[in-house]
């Protein structure tokens, strides 16, 4: 899922200063699960912001709501049926949601309430970790399921580097060295000789280096007028 964190209240308050009527909109999917921008967080943010603005003597009218998925027109349209009676929307969706909202509701001011962090999963209650960068050319088959692009601090394809010690990465003693993990996993599976293969330079053009990426699937596209 997409993992995000709410922006500091002061930053949110600052960007909303010019507006009086504000709608804080949570998103019901990833950011709800990672406890950053769901219904509950929308209400908490509204309460905290009201208080802050009150103390600053700013006239304020805040409402809240939640769209199941701000990243799909269908759900946005459904919610927008009743219109938005506000000067600005603070979206607690990830960056994808915020931009989809802007694309669908171009005459509205829509501002981001979250810092979108990464694609990852919850390691334990309250801890999330990144494990895919969406590089567009997955190599998990080579490493048997441990991503070196994301989890090696230097995105090496032929690791481990000389900074790997006691299973930890040179960059942070609390971070596992991805290549140590890969070596152990391959060894356990009897595939350690895969480490001997010189992996050629990666094709980064499939990654985020060439502008926004688009997928077109003719098999599921709708014919004109369908």
């Amino acid at each position: 899922m997409i993992v995000a964190e709410r922006k500091p209240l002061a930053e949110i308050a600052e960007m909303l200063k010019p507006f009086r009527k504000i709608c804080i909109l949570g998103c019901g999917t990833c950011v709800t699960v990672c406890l950053a921008g769901g219904e509950k967080e929308a209400e908490e943010t509204a309460a905290a912001l009201s208080l802050l603005r009150q103390n600053e003597g700013l006239e304020t009218e805040i409402s809240t709501g939640t769209i199941l998925r701000q990243c799909e027109y269908e759900y946005i349209d459904d919610y927008a049926k009743n219109g938005f009676d506000c000067d600005a929307i603070l979206s607690l969706a990830c960056g994808v949601g915020v931009q989809t909202m802007v694309a669908r509701l171009p005459d509205k001011i829509i501002l981001p309430g979250l810092n979108t962090k990464f694609m990852g999963y919850p390691l334990e209650q309250g801890v999330w970790t990144e494990n895919c960068l969406g590089c567009g050319d997955c190599v998990l088959d080579l490493t048997m399921g441990i991503c070196p692009i994301t989890r090696c601090s230097k995105s090496m394809l032929n690791g481990p580097c000389g900074g790997s010690q006691n299973g930890k990465c040179e960059v942070d003693k609390d971070v596992d060295c991805a290549w140590h993990l890969i070596y152990e996993r391959l060894s356990k599976l009897g595939l350690a000789d895969r480490m001997d293969v010189i992996q050629p330079p990666k094709d980064w053009s499939t990654s985020h280096h060439g502008g926004p990426r688009t997928i077109v699937r003719e098999d599921v596209r709708l014919e004109d007028g369908e």
């Binding site: 230097k154 070596y183 050629p200």
Partner: protein, 307 residues
């Protein structure tokens, strides 16, 4: 093809080779560096020029290499993949060769987090293994990474890489060296050796694979200036092992600097005895002036004549 690299000639001739290291300053003022280089000109074959070491902005490795060559000295141009993509790495290689550099050392590079621009983007387009292979392919196959042909053949370059017997997993480290050799490395400089037992264990595995016959392995030696420096390396430098006994030995000595030099000299003397060690790489960063003494006391002076 005939090599122009003095280092390559020295290693090929079977002499125990000596290389030094110069860390470019955080400015374009090179007088001090030039003095250091000059002071060991009769004691080392060539000089590693670090490439923005520990991710700190310094005069570029190739810039300093040019200055060294004007002084009649031979540079080993260090190239990390941290800051340059494949376009820039290959272009810099051509530029460095065009001004006369012949020795190149391929490294991954410390993460930018440790340097003075911690907010910068880590490039890592290629990794160190792929850089070794890229240099070999340009030289031997006449092709760039893309497969496109180079317009004119490259003069013979001497391709180096690093190895760290003190990093983990230990049981993989000699295999990693094998991979670097397969990629095209011709000479290897190791991480600073303080734990001789571990180094010897690693060399044993290296010899089992016959790697010492395929690549020139130079042991890394750093003279320790103070207990503080030893402690710092022990605690803060990833991929280094500084045994407690070594720190105890320094603590017991009246003159720490003298003892640091003694340890360096003894290390080299032991390295000379190890089968498969072809030379020594002395990294006396911020203590360059002691290199001649170390080389002399280790019995490696005068350097053999080589044409």
């Amino acid at each position: 093809m005939k090599t122009e690299s003095r280092l390559e000639k020295m290693l090929n001739s079977g002499h125990f080779a000596v290389t030094g290291e110069l860390g470019p300053p955080r400015s374009a003022y090179l007088e001090t560096l030039k003095q250091h280089a000059d002071a060991m000109r009769n004691h080392v074959e060539s000089y590693n020029i670090t490439d923005n070491q520990t991710a700190i902005v310094r005069t570029s490795s190739i810039g300093v290499a040019a200055v060294l060559m004007q002084m009649g000295l031979e540079p080993n141009v260090q190239m990390t993949v941290r800051d340059r993509n494949r376009i820039c790495l290959q272009s810099d290689l051509l530029g460095a060769v065009s001004i006369g550099a012949r020795n190149f050392l391929c490294l991954q590079g410390d993460h930018a987090k440790f340097g003075n621009e911690p907010q910068s983007k880590n490039v890592n387009d290629l990794d160190s293994m792929q850089l070794i292979r890229a240099l070999k392919n340009i030289r031997d196959e006449g092709v760039f990474v893309s497969g496109e042909k180079i317009e004119h053949p490259l003069p013979r370059i001497f391709i180096g890489a690093v190895a760290n017997p003190f990093a983990d997993p230990f049981e993989y480290r000699h295999l990693r060296l094998a991979k670097k050799v397969a990629a095209g490395a011709q000479f290897i400089q190791t991480q600073c050796i303080f734990d001789m037992d571990r180094f010897e264990k690693w060399m044993e595995k290296v010899r089992e694979l016959g790697l010492h016959k395929k690549v020139h392995i130079m042991g890394g030696v750093t003279p320790i200036k103070s207990i503080g420096a030893a402690r710092y390396m022990q605690k803060n430098v990833a991929g280094m092992i500084v045994p407690d006994e070594l720190i105890d030995r320094l603590r017991g000595a009246d003159n720490k600097q003298k003892e640091g030099l003694n340890i360096a000299v003894e290390t080299i003397q032991r390295l000379k005895e190890i089968e498969g060690v072809a030379g020594v790489h002395i990294m006396a960063i911020a203590w360059e002036e002691v290199v001649p003494e170390i080389v002399e006391r280790a019995g490696l002076y005068p350097r053999p004549e080589i044409d």
